[in-house]
Structures are given as C-alpha cells and as structure tokens.
Symmetry: C2
C-alpha cells in the first residue's frame, strides 16, 4: 500500500519511527516542510528534513529534541569567538550535513536530489521529498516585526504574538519532482502530528498540492498535534490561539476539514469527537503521546487500521 | 620603518614571528600568496594566509606543521562518512575559519576585506594582504596530469615530477588594494624564506607587482629557503631540481637576481657567497634555521641589521 505522509519535524519523525516498523517502508513517501529552512553562516539548514534524517537513522538526540546524538560544538564555539550569534546551535557532525548540502547546492544540485542523497547516506528506508525545490520562507508577523520562523521559534522562544504567518515565495513554488506523482498514486495520505499552520500549512500552500490531495482517491487521515489544548513540542498551540483559532483537536480538524476522511485524536480529547464528526469526518481516539517505540508503533498501527475500516 | 614582506606559508610565518618581536609590527605589511587557495567541500581554504593567521596569533599546531593547535576532527570524520576524500585534513576550529570566509565571499566581500577581518579576529599586529582578490590557481604539470598545487603537494605528497608550473588566471589578476601602495612606500622589501617558484613566484607573477618592486627605492632582501641544498619543509628543492634549477642558495638568488640588494643564506652555504655576489647582490650569512623564538628573532635582527649596512 502506497502511503504519503505530510511532515514537519519532531512530531512527524516520531510518528514515522513507528510507521516504518509496521509497514513496508519502501512504500512510504514523506513530503517535508521546507519553509523553516534558513541559512546560518552561509550554510543551508533544513530543520525538518534533518530531524527526519537523524531520527529515522537513529542518530537524533532524543533528549535534546534537535540535532545529532554524541555531538561536540567546536565549530560553533569558534564561530562564537568570531562574533557570530549562536542561538541556532549546530553540532560539529550537524555542520557536516549543512556543509555537504550547501556544497551540492553550489554545484547546482536541487534540494530533492540532495535530500535523496542524504537519505541514502543516513540509510533511510523511506523516500524523503522536500515539498519544493524552490525557496519558501515562512515568516511570522509580530509586534516585534517580521521574523523568520527560526528567529521567532528558536531565537525569541515564541514569546511574540503571531499576528499573521507569511509564506514568502510560495506563489512561485512548484512541488518538488515526485510530490504530485506520489500523491496521485497514494492509497493513503497521512498528515503527521505536526504544526497545522507553519509545517503542514506550508506544504498545503504550495500551489497544486492541496488540489491534488483533494482529487486523490486515497484515504486521508490526520493525527492531531494538539492534546488537551497543548502542543507536545513547539508553538502550535500558541500560534493557533494568536491567530484566533481554537487550540484543540477540533481546531486542527476544522483547518483540515475539506481534506480528511478520518481524524485521529488523543483519548483525553474524546469529548470533542462528536463536534469533529460534524465536520464530515470519521474520528478515532487513541493514545497519541509517543513516549517510546511501543507507543509510536501503536499509533501507527491505529492509523493503518483506520484505512481498512 | 615601513616593511613589506612577500610571504608563502610556514617559512614566512616563522620568520614573521621573529620580525614582529624586534620591529614595530604596525609598520609591517605582509603580501601573501593565494595561488595555493583551494575549495574543499565548497569552502574556501587559503593555506598560506591561514598559516600566518594561526602562527602569528600563537594558535598554530607547530608540531604538525599545519592547522590550529588543540583541534578535533568531528566535521571531517562525518564528511568522510559521506564519502568525501579527506587528504586535506581540516580540524573543527579550522572549519570555522573557512565557513566564515566562504560566508563573507558569498556576501560579496573581497578576499582582502575578509583577510583584514580575520587578522583582526586573530589579533594580528601586522597588516595582512592577499596578493590579489582575483582567483589565481597554481597548477603543476606532471606525468600524472595537471594537478592543483594542493593535489600535488598534500594529496600526492610531491611524488610527481614537475614538468612546469602554471599560474592559472594570473594575467587577469590585479594586485589586491594596498599591495602596490605598500610596495611604493616601503623602506624595506623582504622576501621571506618561502618557495621561490610556487609561493614567491606566484606573488611576483601578479601583473605590476614585480615592476613596482623593481622601481621601489626600498632595500630589497631575500632569505634563502634552501639550506644545504634542501628545503626545511615542502617541495621547494624538488620543484627547483625538476625545473632544471640548481637547488641551492645560489639557485634561489639567481631567480631573484634582478630584484635584490641583499641575499641572506645559511652559514652552512657560505661557500656559495662569492658566486652569489657575482649576481650583483650583497650576501650575508647567518643561522637561518628557525628552531625556536630565539633563532627566529636572531634571523629577523640580522635582516634588519643589513638595512642599516
């Protein structure tokens, strides 16, 4: 069964860790948000792609929540001595990823070619596609000014009220090669438990992606990234609230209402089941908090089971 | 007294360590060979500039002969796992230099602006100028093919016979800002004990540099990099021999004969004194092997003393 997963960073990576265990990974195509990509020290960093690369290869620093495990920080320390800001901390091994990516970009390789190469280097069993090879920059309008997503998220620790979200460059962005093809042949399209505005929202804003998902005959399922009104990690709850959207499973389901067959929410949010069903989708409740491989596999199994319902 | 030093890498850096101790470093302008510069992993590496930066700031790895002391190699190890060749080893802190330089080049800063910035970051007391902001690539024609200088020197450990040396791009290269001005106001021009073909020869091949040195009223002194027929470090002796030039103090003096007032050679080569004097220059013999700071200072003092002779 051909599966497409729309993915942001940590939440998606955790879900995928379970999914690859219970399906044939060769059938999984992951379409990843690249709106958070940013250049640091002239090197291209793709946080969501890298989180998936590092997590699915078992190299992620799980405790820290970003980067590779067993890292050192010699390059970063030296760049700090040169006067660079270091709010986006990069480990030495992580630098190698960004040096390699930037080197290939300079050689006119596309981001999808580079991502395919990195997926191979990290022995990923799945197909990993950036949403687009064109540069899209997610920016956040705040009372403090317009910030890049990483400035808002990492540097200023999402302290600023989000007035609006801008996907700079999105109108001219084309889906990366393979994205539309994967959607068209998919039997299941899964929206990972990622930020519905700045992760999934960015992917869905790439011209023609949403219309192809709508046209697709695949089963379409989303997993709520909001549990008990809160995001497990990151600013999804705050951004939703700032934008006047209910920070709840229902709020997320409502964003996706024109796309979905099935919505999966955490058992503790089961009181919203009926309200969400009125949006025109089936609702499945389960444990969506992915604490360990067992819970990741169980969530993935629940998602796969809904496809046969 | 305004001093200009034409410099390659290690030999020049050692000489400068002594020179800054016995003169006012603010009066020293060092014009550095950039023909050996090469991009590794998409990052611009300037071996001669970096050797001088690291040595004069006391950060060089003296025992190893290249790079910074107290280095780690996490980035390089990771790039090795990605399949990159690693014959030109770069430490983690060293990577920071090249990341910073490449970042500034991408921002359209010139190599001289970047070198000035790095000299400041490494607290260098002297003025450091690349010979040119234009890319010049020193290549070596060998039976194994045309090699970049670093391929010939580091990768293939100067095992190939040098048929000829090519300074690719030299005809269009302009001296970097400040180079001609420094030569014009210099009271002394010192050719450091560097490779006369691929270090000093490259600088002298930049259009107008040699003619301005000839026109200059400065005292012009060279220190032989060849002692007892051999180079202290690197392939100078081999390259000279391959090119049919006598690998000796005389051979070097003969290359510089139209430029120099004074030639400084090692005491063990004093038997060549008269032969060199016949080239039309004064000859001073001293200990030119720079084993420690004391011998570096003594050599520098000998050079300065000849200016007053």
């Amino acid at each position: 069964m051909k599966i497409v997963v729309l993915a942001g960073g940590v939440g998606a990576a955790r879900f995928l860790e379970g999914l690859v265990q219970i399906t044939n990974p060769i059938d999984i195509t992951v379409i990843v948000n690249t709106g958070d990509d940013e250049d640091f020290y002239g090197l291209r960093v793709c946080p969501d792609i890298d989180t998936i690369l590092y997590t699915l290869s078992g190299n992620n620093n799980e405790k820290q929540g970003w980067g590779l495990k067993d890292e050192t920080f010699a390059v970063s320390n030296q760049l700090g001595k040169f006067g660079y800001e270091r709010w986006f901390m990069l480990g030495d091994k992580d630098f190698a990823t960004h040096i390699h990516r930037t080197n290939l970009l300079q050689q006119k390789k596309t981001l999808s070619e580079i991502t395919e190469n990195l997926a191979k280097l990290f022995s990923l069993p799945i197909k990993l596609l950036p949403m687009s090879n064109d540069v899209v920059k997610t920016k956040v309008k705040t009372p403090h000014g317009i910030l890049s997503f990483q400035e808002y998220f990492v540097k200023r620790k999402f302290q600023d009220t989000v007035l609006s979200v801008i996907f700079s460059g999105i109108k001219k962005a084309k889906p990366a090669p393979g994205v539309i093809e994967a959607i068209n042949i998919a039997e299941a399209i899964i929206i990972a438990p990622s930020n519905p505005i700045v992760s999934i929202g960015t992917i869905l804003a790439v011209p023609t992606i949403t219309s192809h998902i709508k046209k697709s005959h695949a089963k379409k399922i989303a997993i709520s990234p909001i549990i008990g009104g809160k995001a497990i990690k990151g600013p999804a709850d705050i951004i939703l609230t700032n934008l006047g959207i209910e920070s709840s499973a229902f709020g997320v389901a409502n964003i996706y209402k024109e796309l979905l067959d099935t919505f999966i929410l955490d058992a503790q949010d089961r009181f919203q089941k009926e309200k969400i069903e009125k949006l025109g989708m089936r609702v499945v409740t389960t444990n969506t908090i992915m604490k360990n491989l067992q819970t990741k596999k169980l969530l993935a199994q629940t998602v796969i089971n809904t496809l046969c319902m």
